[in-house]
């Protein structure tokens, strides 16, 4: 639902970093807890970049599962589909999220025109 705002933020960063060069692929890393629906993001990206210098640039979304670590017993576990932030090993709620909240552009692949 907020994918359009997200695409605008991505476009701003990409335009600045590409600095006039043509971009082929934008690599995005999205944690499971960032509530990003990749299909929706890619759809919105197409809408937003139509008729702009970024038209045709492909969005490649790498999804990162959410992982928690228990501060009490140090056990680590994937959150899985049920978002329970409780240590499965010892039952403690004193857990920290060690992955799954990231949301960043990792890199751009620039395009080079193939000579005719």
């Amino acid at each position: 639902m907020h994918e359009l705002s997200v695409c605008q933020a991505i476009a701003d960063i990409v335009m600045r970093r590409a600095d006039g060069r043509r971009v082929a692929v934008i690599h995005v890393r999205a944690g499971q807890l960032r509530q990003i629906v990749p299909d929706t993001l890619v759809f919105c990206w197409g809408l937003l970049t139509e008729d702009t210098p970024l038209a045709g640039a492909e969005l490649d979304v790498e999804q990162v599962p959410a992982r928690i670590a228990c501060r009490a017993c140090r056990a680590e576990a994937l959150i899985g589909d049920l978002p329970v932030f409780v240590c499965a090993a010892c039952g403690s709620t004193n857990v920290e999220i060690i992955s799954g909240e990231e949301f960043l552009i990792t890199s751009l692949d620039l395009a080079e025109e193939v000579p005719p």
């Binding site: 082929a24 692929v25 807890l33 509530q35 979304v61 960043l104 692949d109």
Partner: protein, 262 residues
């Protein structure tokens, strides 16, 4: 997990790269666009919400400079945020100078409901562009700040757009986040919207006057909430009858005390 992308020809798929012989970098133009890809890779490593978060930090600084504590109030549509705000103003407006930032997709209906209750109200209509934003972001709140005399206020309540997903993603420069949750929404929502429930330090469980008429399982709701956010405070409130509203006002006073010393 893996990767998701869509090709120029409209096909989309998910896969782990390097396992199916399907490459996007290398010397061929995989999308038939006439451009080779992967010729040069530029490392970026920039957080996508960085710009929003910078503006949020500026908003937070503006609140602090005005000696104002800001609370971001979030919920589904119809959970009772505006009714709770009205009751809050009725109890607190004589003692605390309150400003309200009202996020609404299209209308001024909520702002109108709050008119005459002794608070400055700045309305933000989010309805520009693609049919209206589903949340407030930091630039929207920043744009509303000049319409509030912050130095003459103690507390700013930000009524976010009704939505359990998007508002949780956007820091708007608040000091604390609170959620209004109506028992008519059913008890299973903490597990469905964990990011929202996790992001709040207080959950106001509203419409408790309807408890006798609903199958709402409060124990199950509270235990699911604990699973998602063990640190959240919970207040049971009926904004309609006024029950529990004083406890909510005490929570607001406590936020004021902790964020606006002096």
């Amino acid at each position: 997990m893996g990767r998701f992308h869509r090709h120029e020809d409209g096909t989309a798929h998910s896969h782990d790269h390097g396992q199916d012989g399907h490459e996007h970098s290398g010397d061929r133009a995989g999308d038939h666009s006439g451009y080779r890809t992967g010729v040069e890779r530029v490392e970026v490593l920039e957080r996508i919400f960085d710009e929003n978060d910078k503006t949020a930090a500026a908003n937070r600084a503006a609140f602090a400079a005005g000696g104002v504590c800001a609370v971001n109030l979030m919920s589904s549509p119809g959970a009772g945020k505006t009714t709770l705000l009205r009751e809050t103003l009725a109890r607190l407006a004589a003692e605390v100078r309150i400003g309200i930032i009202e996020g609404d997709i299209e209308t001024s209906l909520d702002a109108d409901r709050l008119a005459g209750f002794g608070a400055e109200v700045a309305l933000i209509n989010t309805g520009n562009g693609f049919g209206g934003e589903c949340h407030l972001d930091a630039p929207m709140v920043g744009a509303a700040l000049p319409r509030l005399a912050l130095s003459e206020l103690d507390l700013v309540l930000i009524e976010n757009v009704g939505n359990l997903v998007c508002p949780a993603e956007f820091d708007v420069g608040e000091h604390a986040r609170a959620m209004v949750y109506a028992i008519t929404e059913g008890e299973e929502k903490p597990l469905k919207y964990p990011v929202m429930f996790r992001s709040c330090s207080l959950v106001v469980v509203n419409k408790t006057d309807l408890l006798p008429y609903l199958d709402f399982d409060m124990d199950r709701f509270l235990s699911d909430l604990r699973a998602v956010n063990p640190d959240a405070s919970v207040l049971q409130v009926s904004a309609r009858t006024g029950e529990g509203v004083d406890a909510w006002c005490d929570w607001l006073r406590a936020q004021l005390a902790s964020y606006c010393v002096g």
